[in-house]
């Protein structure tokens, strides 16, 4: 079987069922709430007030085999809830999910064998023993044939550069080292569907970059379908061409990252380097900053060409660049507009 090689099943199956199919998915959490204080505590013994939190409010999307999609949204937007429903940890309140044609909430073994959920803030590694021992445990749990296990482990160890870490007790590893081992433990059974929830949270830039490169390589080598949430736009920019933007449980955008930028940016940034800051550029656009002769202007997108040529004609320009605003600003735009 070709499960552990360059996977042919997931390439070129145009027109086949999507690997992930979500329709009108909803999740409502019911919680009982009470005011602080002793009196309220006593009152809650008699009568509990229930409150309903609509964590996911009717989202639909498909993921094709081998796709790598970024799932964006502020805290509490419904990202983790959605990932938990997709991996079978949570029952949806309503709506439909099919992952690899399975209904995740049934948690069938054949389904669980083919997926993984990596949560940046939770861990599965046994704290007191070396990661290598947890790996062995996972081999037994997933019943991975010895030869396949060896090959996969070697590959993961090489890609994640965790060879020297395997023998140390997990509690002695740094956060980044632990995360790399967590990821390896989650991928030993070669899942074809990978859910990553904030895999780079709390890590330094170098480590983020390394994990990002690994995810891209895993997706490329094995054709795995990857759905990834992250707070770091750099993760999403580097990994996902397509993004889903979720806010208050609703899907605000589903499409290419470039299209998102195009659609939600009304402005461009023009950076002009002059000999000094003396000239007032306020007439050309909104001055964002002016330091050491470098003035940054924000201008409406439609005006960009006209303003640029005027500046070049009017002023002794040393250098001039036109840029899209940073992706973080774009996303913020999406959320503020979506919330409005």
């Amino acid at each position: 079987m070709g499960r552990f090689h360059e996977d042919s099943r997931y390439t070129g199956n145009v027109g086949a069922e999507p690997v992930i199919r979500v329709r009108d998915l909803k999740k409502t959490y019911v919680t009982s709430e009470r005011e602080p204080g002793l009196r309220a505590a006593l009152a809650s013994l008699v009568r509990r007030r229930k409150s309903y939190v609509q964590a996911v409010d009717g989202i639909s999307f498909d993921l094709e085999a081998g796709e790598m999609v970024g799932f964006l949204g502020p805290n509490g937007a419904g990202k983790t809830t959605t990932l938990k429903m997709l991996s079978g940890l949570l029952h949806p309140t309503s709506g439909e999910i099919a992952v690899l044609s399975f209904v995740p909430a049934r948690r069938e073994r054949a389904f669980l064998r083919q997926i993984t959920l990596v949560m940046g803030q939770r861990n599965q590694l046994v704290w007191d023993i070396p990661a290598a021992d947890t790996f062995e445990l996972n081999r037994a749990i997933y019943r991975i044939p010895a030869a396949d296990y060896r090959r996969t482990l070697d590959e993961l160890v090489a890609l994640l550069e965790i060879g020297p870490l395997l023998g140390k007790p997990v509690r002695n590893l740094s956060l980044g080292e632990r995360m790399k081992c967590e990821i390896a433990a989650s991928l030993l059974h070669r899942p074809t569907v990978v859910f990553l929830d904030e895999p780079t949270i709390g890590l330094d830039v170098t480590m983020q970059r390394r994990i990002r490169a690994f995810i891209a390589e895993y997706n490329r080598r094995h054709g795995a379908t990857v759905l990834l949430t992250s707070h770091y736009m750099a993760d999403v920019e580097a990994l996902a061409k397509r993004v889903l933007v979720i806010h208050h449980g609703r899907l605000l955008f589903d499409g290419e990252l470039a299209a998102l930028v195009e659609r939600f940016t009304a402005h461009k940034t023009i950076a002009v380097r002059l000999r000094d800051c003396a000239a007032d550029l306020g007439a050309y656009g909104e001055v964002v900053s002016c330091e050491d002769g470098l003035t940054t202007l924000r201008v409406p997108k439609a005006e960009t060409a006209r303003v640029t040529s005027r500046i070049l004609a009017d002023l002794p320009v040393i250098d001039l660049t036109v840029e899209d605003p940073p992706i973080e600003d774009v996303i913020e735009q999406v959320f503020t507009r979506g919330a409005a």
């Binding site: 054949a110 939770r122 007191d128 062995e136 037994a140």
Partner: protein
Amino acid sequence: MRGLGDLYLQQLKTGLATMLQYRGSLVIWLIGNVLEPLIYLVVWSTVSRSTGGTVGGYGARDFAAYYIVLMLVNQVTFSWVMYEFDYRIREGTFSADLLHPLHPIHADIAENLSSKAVSLPFMIAAAAGLSVVFHPVFRLSPLAAAAFVPALVLAFLVRFLVDWTVALAAFWTTRVSAINQIHYMAVLFFSGQIAPLAVLPRPLQVAANILPFRWTVGFPVELLLGRVTGPRILAGFAVQGAWLLAGALLVRYVWRASVKRYSAVGA
């Protein structure tokens, strides 16, 4: 089955490695396991001596034998899954287990066995020490000794299934410690730990025969000491078998309902 065997072996290794990381707390915990039966032993021996010989058919040296064997049987059959579950649910570490293509009870049984493998030699040494001090009388018969082993295995399984079901309460309430306390008291009374069941009032003895607890501790102990004989041995095995079946069904249905609830309210 081979896959499951491999899992148990791996879990056993992991459990051992973890246990050996905490040698200090292991020793303290084991001392506790010796002290509890030792207290009952001393109390009941004193009572029997002061009443002029025997209580419920037990003399001082019979009590010594009873509690020394009970200490070992209890060590083999007891579990701490209810405390683990409470932690798992509160800390949310359970989600990782739910993602595994395997019933989590297997990992728990294997972990339990691995810790027993480490602790049992220590407990046997403690039992030998207590024997020197308290001069117990053992009246061992080959039949009783032969029946003891399967009774002990059944006792372990019944206790584990019952404990595991009680542990599932953690899915339904955040006040698990109250439930654990009630369960602990029930075990103390009805398993024969606080006193041999023959010493208890008749109604309590009847209750003990119906409830599972006697069959997880007291029965194997009495069996080995020759206090259960003839057809009552077979009857005891029948009740153990019935509780094994009931326990397995309980685990199956309560587990399903619990997971359903867990995944409804938020994992």
